[in-house]
Every structure is written in C-alpha cells, then in structure tokens.
C-alpha cells in the first residue's frame, strides 16, 4: 500500500497546484473583466469596448493556464531524468560506470528505497545515501515545481491583464487561441494514422524481405504452420493472403446481409411509424447490442449459435462445420445492427419534413414516401452508417477468434470454416512461436494490408457520398 501513498502524494501535490491554478484563473477572469469595464468607465460605456468584458477575463485566464500547464507537463517529463542524473553523479564511480540498463535497475532500487518500498537485498550504504539524497531532491523539486508553475500562471495572467485596453481585440485573440486548439484536435487523426503506419510499416518491410510481396498478395494458400520454425521444414509453407481476405469478406458480407435489412428497417420503423413510446424504449435497447463486449458475442456465437446452426443443418441433411462462417457472420451481424439502425435513424430524422409533406400531398402512402423520397434523400447518411458497420465487421476480432476458427479455406460456402485477417493477426502475435520469424512479421504485413484496404475503401466511399451530397444540396 506504500506505493499507493506515493501516488496519492504525487496526485495530491498535483491537485493542490491545480486547485490554486483554478483559484488563480477565477481571480484572473474577474480582474480581467473588471479592468476591461474600468478602462471604459463602467457598464454604461460598455459599447466602447471592442469585445464583451467576459472575453477580457477569458483572455487573462488563457494566458494564465496554458503556459503554466505546458511548463508543468514539461517539468514532469524532465524532472525524473534530471533527478536521476543528479543521483548518478553522487554515486560511487564503479556504480556510475555500469551499463545504462543496469544503472536503470539501480535507480529503480534507489527509488523503491526512497519511497519506502520493500527492497530485496539489504541496501549498501551508498544506495542508502543515494535514496536519502533522492528523497530530499524530490521534495525540493516538487516545491520548486509548484512555485514555478504558479509563478508562471501569475506572470501570464499579469501580462494579459496589463495588456487590456478598450481597443484590444480580446474576442479575436481568445477565438484564435480556441481555434488553434481545435485545429490541434483535428490533427490528432493524422498523427494517429502516421503512428499506425509507422508501427506496422517497418516490420512489414522485414517480412517482405523474407516473403515476396506478390506471393503475399496473390497467393491462394495461407498455411503459416510449416517452414517457419528453424527446426521445421516445410512442404507447403505459404503466405498467400487471398484466403484470409476471402474469409474476411465472406463473414463481413454475411454480417451485413443480417445487419443492413434489420438495422435499416428498424430505423425506418422507429423514425416513421413507431409511437414515441416504442421509440423511446426500442432504440436504446437495440443500442445495447452495440455495447455488448465482443468477447460475449464470441461466446454466444461459439456456444449457442454455432451448435444451433450445425444441428439445424444436420436435421436437413447439410454438412455444417462446427465453426462455420455463417455462425460468426450472423452474430457479427447482430452486433452491428445498431451501427446501421442508430445512424440511419438519425439521418432519416434529419430529412426535412417538407419532403414528407410534398409526398403525402401528392397522395403517396407512407411506405411509398419512405422508399421513394426519404430513403433516397437519406442515402448518403445511410451509406455512412453501413460503411461504419462494414468497417466494424472487417475489423472485428474477438468474435471471429472464438467462432470462426483458423483454417484458411478459400470458399464462398458459408457453412464451411474460414479464417479472417484479424484472427490471423491475433494468433500470430500471441502464440507460442518463436519471435522475429516470418510468422510474427506476417501479422504486421496483414495489419498493413488491412489498413490499406480500409483506406482505399473509405476513399472511394467518401467520394460517392460526396457526389450524392453535391447532387442534393
């Protein structure tokens, strides 16, 4: 429980800083507003101010908070490194000359000792001294951090406060800061993509050094079981991704065949026919389906649906694999119903009432109106929903891991077992095989492949959606 205390201490220190910072901002807001009002001589002359008084307050707040938080973050990032360096410099020379990893372990020991954790070996005097030193350094550093952060907050606030004058364009400045934050938020998406590409690209390249790209992309056989391990020799080791892609598409297709009609019809019924009461109940209940963990679906598929389908198949004389694509696809379809229904429902609701009126005014029945007016108008949105659902299906992992099996059959028979790209990624990465073999690397190549497929798919889909939009707006 000692470490918890430590976390608590650290957290407490942080929260103290934050609370003081909060008070500072409240004060800054108030003062900034007041100064702005005073600068024009009170509320009567408010129209002489460029912006509303609150913007001046906000301007002060932003100046107080943003630099202070940045410094706090930066401080946190470097404090430990600096402290460690300081500690290392006081250690006996033979310890200092240790290789960096060992030194890191030593520092861990010192840290554990400093915060009062149990350590394994009786610490040497040098370590003990270092721990004491570390403790005092930490206390100083924490104090210094609090002082510096709060000082910077105050300085920032003061700077902004002094700059306030009736002609200052406070609103524009505040707005451009906020806009900057928004742009930064939007850029996260790009950073994420870059991160993903970098995370999978290098390993994939190494894989392609071992297995030619063409074999990977166009090979009709996936059989990573042989010719991989150093002590195994293969008769048919193969890294053809086609069966995996076919399996993925088959299962996703089954899922969409289940989810799109059910989801879309549910959305239509809820939006156009259902009483408000039914709507208020049914929609959230359906949405529960989206939130049920995929692990649960996996079990449901493997233990309830798959045996059921198998028995059903046998009763009519069909040969059904106990890990049929159908079972996985059906359950996945159930899972993605709400993706289709919720988003379609929102889109259908967004279709203007005037279009409905026009159609009813011509004497169309409700279903005619829905099919011929509302659905075409809502199509881009619905496609968006279906697309989202499809991406879920393609990327879904746990259900297929549990229900779809691992045999890479190239088939379109939904009663047979197939495997998917995601299943292979998981099995290849968390299996017991030797690392850095082509097999592990294949997982990254599959990840890259999947990423590229969804990327191109989305670009195409986005184009279509956009063309629709331009047509109807």
């Amino acid at each position: 429980m000692l470490p918890a205390e430590e976390t608590g201490e650290n957290g407490m220190q942080n929260s103290v800083i934050l609370i003081v910072l909060l008070l500072l901002t409240a004060l800054g807001y108030h003062l900034g507003r007041r100064r702005a009002l005073h600068s024009v001589g009170g509320t009567q002359a408010i129209r002489h101010l460029h912006s509303l008084p609150s913007y001046y307050g906000l301007y002060v707040v932003l100046w107080a908070v943003i630099p202070a938080l940045l410094v706090m973050l930066l401080w946190g990032l470097v404090q430990d490194t600096v402290l460690n360096e300081l500690i290392i410099s006081t250690l006996p020379p033979e310890m200092q000359s240790l290789p960096p990893e060992r030194l890191g372990l030593l520092i861990n020991d010192i840290h554990n000792l400093a915060v009062g954790n149990i350590t394994s070996e009786a610490p040497s005097p040098a370590i003990k001294a270092a721990a004491d030193h570390l403790r005092s350094l930490q206390a100083v550093a924490d104090l210094a951090r609090a002082v510096v952060v709060l000082a910077i907050a105050t300085a920032g606030a003061l700077f902004a406060w002094r700059a306030i004058s009736p002609t200052m364009r406070a609103r524009n400045r505040v707005e451009s800061i906020l806009k900057g934050l928004m742009v930064a938020s939007a850029m996260v998406a790009i950073l994420t993509t870059i991160g993903i590409v970098l995370s999978v690209l290098f390993e994939s390249l190494r894989f392609f050094q071992k297995v030619p790209v063409t074999d990977f992309l166009f090979g009709l056989e996936w059989s990573p079981q042989i010719a991989i391990r150093s002590d195994q020799v293969g008769a048919s080791g193969a890294f053809g991704a086609i069966p995996l892609l076919a399996g993925t598409l088959l299962i996703s297709f089954i899922a969409l065949v289940v989810a799109v009609p059910i989801g879309l019809m549910s959305a239509i019924y809820l939006a156009e026919y259902a009483s408000p009461r039914l709507r208020a109940w049914a929609k959230p209940i359906l949405e529960v389906l989206a939130g049920i963990p995929t692990v649960v679906y996996g079990f449901f598929a493997a233990l309830t649906v798959a045996p059921f389908i198998r028995n059903l198949g046998e009763s009519v004389g069909l040969d059904v694999s106990s890990e049929s694509a159908l079972a996985a696809g059906l359950v996945m379809g159930i899972m993605i119903i709400p993706f289709v229904s919720s988003l379609s429902d929102d889109v259908i609701n967004a279709v203007p009432q005037s279009l409905r009126d026009a159609s009813y005014g011509l004497g169309a029945t409700q279903s005619e109106t829905i099919r011929q007016v509302i659905l075409p108008a809502a199509l881009p949105g619905i496609m968006g929903g279906v697309l989202l659902a499809a991406s879920r299906a393609i990327g879904e992992t746990m259900i297929v891991v549990m229900a779809a099996g691992l045999s890479a059959n190239l088939t379109i028979n939904p009663l047979e077992a197939v495997t998917t790209v995601t299943v292979q990624i998981v099995t290849l990465l968390v299996g017991d095989q030797e690392f850095d073999s082509a097999k592990t690397l294949a997982a990254f190549a599959l990840g890259l492949l999947l990423f590229l497929i969804t990327l191109s798919l989305n670009i195409v889909a986005l184009r279509i959606v956009r063309r629709y939009r331009e047509q109807y707006e």
Binding site: A282, G291, G447
Partner: protein, 429 residues
Amino acid sequence: MSSGNSVSPSFEKVQASLARRYARERRFRAMGLGAILLGLSFVAILFITIIGNGYTAFWQTYIRLPVYLDPQVIDPQGTRDPEVIRQASFRKLVRQPLREMFREVKGRRDKRLLYKLLSDDAPHEVQQRVIDDPSLIGRKVELWLLADDEVDMLVKGHIPRETLLEGRKAKLVGWVDRLQAEGRIEKRFNVPFFTRGDSREPEQAGIAGAAAGSFYTLLVTLLLSFPIGVAAAIYLEEFAPKNRLTDLIEVNINNLAAVPSIVFGLLGLAVFINWFGLPRSAPLVGGLVLTLMTLPTIIIAGRAALKSVPPSIREAALGIGASHMQTVTHHVLPLALPGMLTGAIIGMAQALGETAPLLMIGMVAFIVDIPQGPLDPATVLPVQIYLWADSPERAFVERTSAAIMVLLAFLIAMNALAIVLRRRFERRW
C-alpha cells in the same frame, strides 16, 4: 348540393391501384416491426443466456463451523496487539473443527481432501474477525466460513454428484451431504465478488479490480476523447476551409473508424509503451489507445449532429452580429450537443467492451491488487471476462457470466443516460 361523383379517368386508376398499394404498405410496415422485434429478441436471447448462466454466482456457499479461537495459538502473551494477531497462524484453528467433526477421516491424502472443503481464504477471514474484535479470543464461536469452489459447485448443482463420485474427490460428496444435513451449509450473498480483485481461486475472485481498471481507463478515454472529438468535429464542420489538409483529415478520420482495433493495440505498443516509455498494463495506456479508437466515432457523430443544425440558425446568429465562434458556441453547439453525446456514449460503450487492443499493451494480465490510479497495473472488465472464460475451473463459468452481467449493467446505465438526453433534446427540423 353536389353533382354526385363525376370521377375523372385518372381517379379511377388511382382507385384501382389502392388495394395493391395498401397491401404493400402493410407488408412494409410489418417488415419494419418484424425487424425491430427480431432485434429485440436477439437482445432478449443474449440476456437470458447470460443471466441463466450467471445469476448463481451472486450467491456463495458458506460452511458454519464451531471455531475455538485458542489464545495459545493466536496471542499467547495476551497482548491483543493486531500485529501479533496478524502473525498468528489461523489455518490450524480452522481445520480443527473439521477434524473433530469427521474423526473417521484418516490418512494424509484424505485429510488434505477434507481441508479442501474450505477455501484457502477461510483462515484469513477468521483472522480479520479477530483483529476487528479481539474479545473473541478464547471463545468458541460458530463462524460461517467460505467454502471451496468445488463444494460451491456441488451445492449449486453445477457439477453432477455422479461425476464427482467417480473422481479423486469422491469422498467430498459424502462430507458435503453430512454438513448439509446438519444445516451447516448455506448460500449467502456473494459480497467478495464485488469487493475483491482477481484470484485463481474462483470462490475468492472478484471484479472490483477489473471494475476499477475499467473506471480509470474510461476516465482517461472520456477526458481525452470527448473534448478532442468535439473540438475536431466543430473545426471540421464549422471552420475548416475546403482544402487538401481538411480532405486529408476527413479521409483519415473515416479510415480510422474502420481500422481494426487490434491495429490500435499495435500502435499503442509501439508509441506509448516503447517510445514514450509508459508502463505496460496501465489504464493510462489503455485509455490512450481507446481514445484514439473512439475519436473517429465521436468526431463522425459530432459532425453529423452539427450538420443537422439548419444553416438558418447560423445565419440568424451571424446576422445579428455574432462572431463565427460565438455563433458556434452559443447556438450551434447547444443544439448539436445531444447528438454529440449520443455519439460519445456509443464510443464509450465500444471502449468499455473492447478487448483486442488491450491484448497488445499488456492488460491481459493477472492482477490481484485493486488499482489505485491510472498508473497501477490493471485489467478491465471485458479482459477479466476473457481471462475467466479461459480458466479451467468450473466455478469460473458462472463468474464469467456474472461479470458479463455487471458489465451489461454499466452499459444499460450508460444507455439510460443516452435515453434521457435524447428524450430531452431530440428535435426534428
């Protein structure tokens, strides 16, 4: 008054088509209703299966035994100091009544089996009692002690008696029968399930650790993804100029929504753990990964919500001299917020149920201690379910289902929130 029915030829055609059109209308409507009922019945089947499997886990078998709290064993000096009591071995004390009750049991093997009636945790329970109330020392008290998971399964009927009778533990059945006949076995509400961390002994395993892990993970996710998601949605929908960069961001967001979660796990491993050096198995890292995963959902839903606010409202606000930013924050955002929240709730629900990416960042781990912050090693509810589902002990089957029930309870709570929001703010333009 009127000159009768001077019906036009076109109207005759209309009338002729009516029956067919109404039949189609009815069919369409029935299909809609059917779709809803189908969807709802899926929910029902799932819930019935899970609840049917898991409700028994909320009750746990206890055995009542007369335990003599021997001062010689617990506290020979009579100090009544909790530290002294903590050092004492309670194992013997707990086994004593069993030995006395089943005097006929001889031989080391059988005795070991006899002690297996009780959970490993029983001595600790007694110890805690004594620490809380030292006056018990020296008295013989009837205590309800936690039974072993196999006894629990037997009492609940999850393991048929016949099977057990065939195996190495055949004698257990007779002993349990005798205890039951003496009224020494009772099923009680399973409090430890909600207060403890994971354990390899099913009877001691609880979900508190995983729940805390889920809490911290989701906290990080929510705090990061909602503000960033909303800000990004506003920027893209309201401010972004139509240029290459905006297009790129848009393509990226749409694509990220389709990137398999496992790939996000790879990203988390490479970036947060290997590059930033954040600790493995920490809710902070889990939260960061899930943030990146849920951001696209939140941004897409947020943009849809913003888009559904009619331009006339923006024009109205701009028309009375509001700045672009004011228009958005004062008028558009409040109107779009319910839609954004719906998206956020869907995103959080996804995050709550996500397993695959956490596999890559070390959250599939055995962690007994309940995490105290976003940096302690932790696991999350769905991963706990996955781990328990993979455990060989039979008693974990019902616990898995019970954990699923708890998880679903959280989901329902979240959805209830969504209903409230939607009910209060939904509007048609």
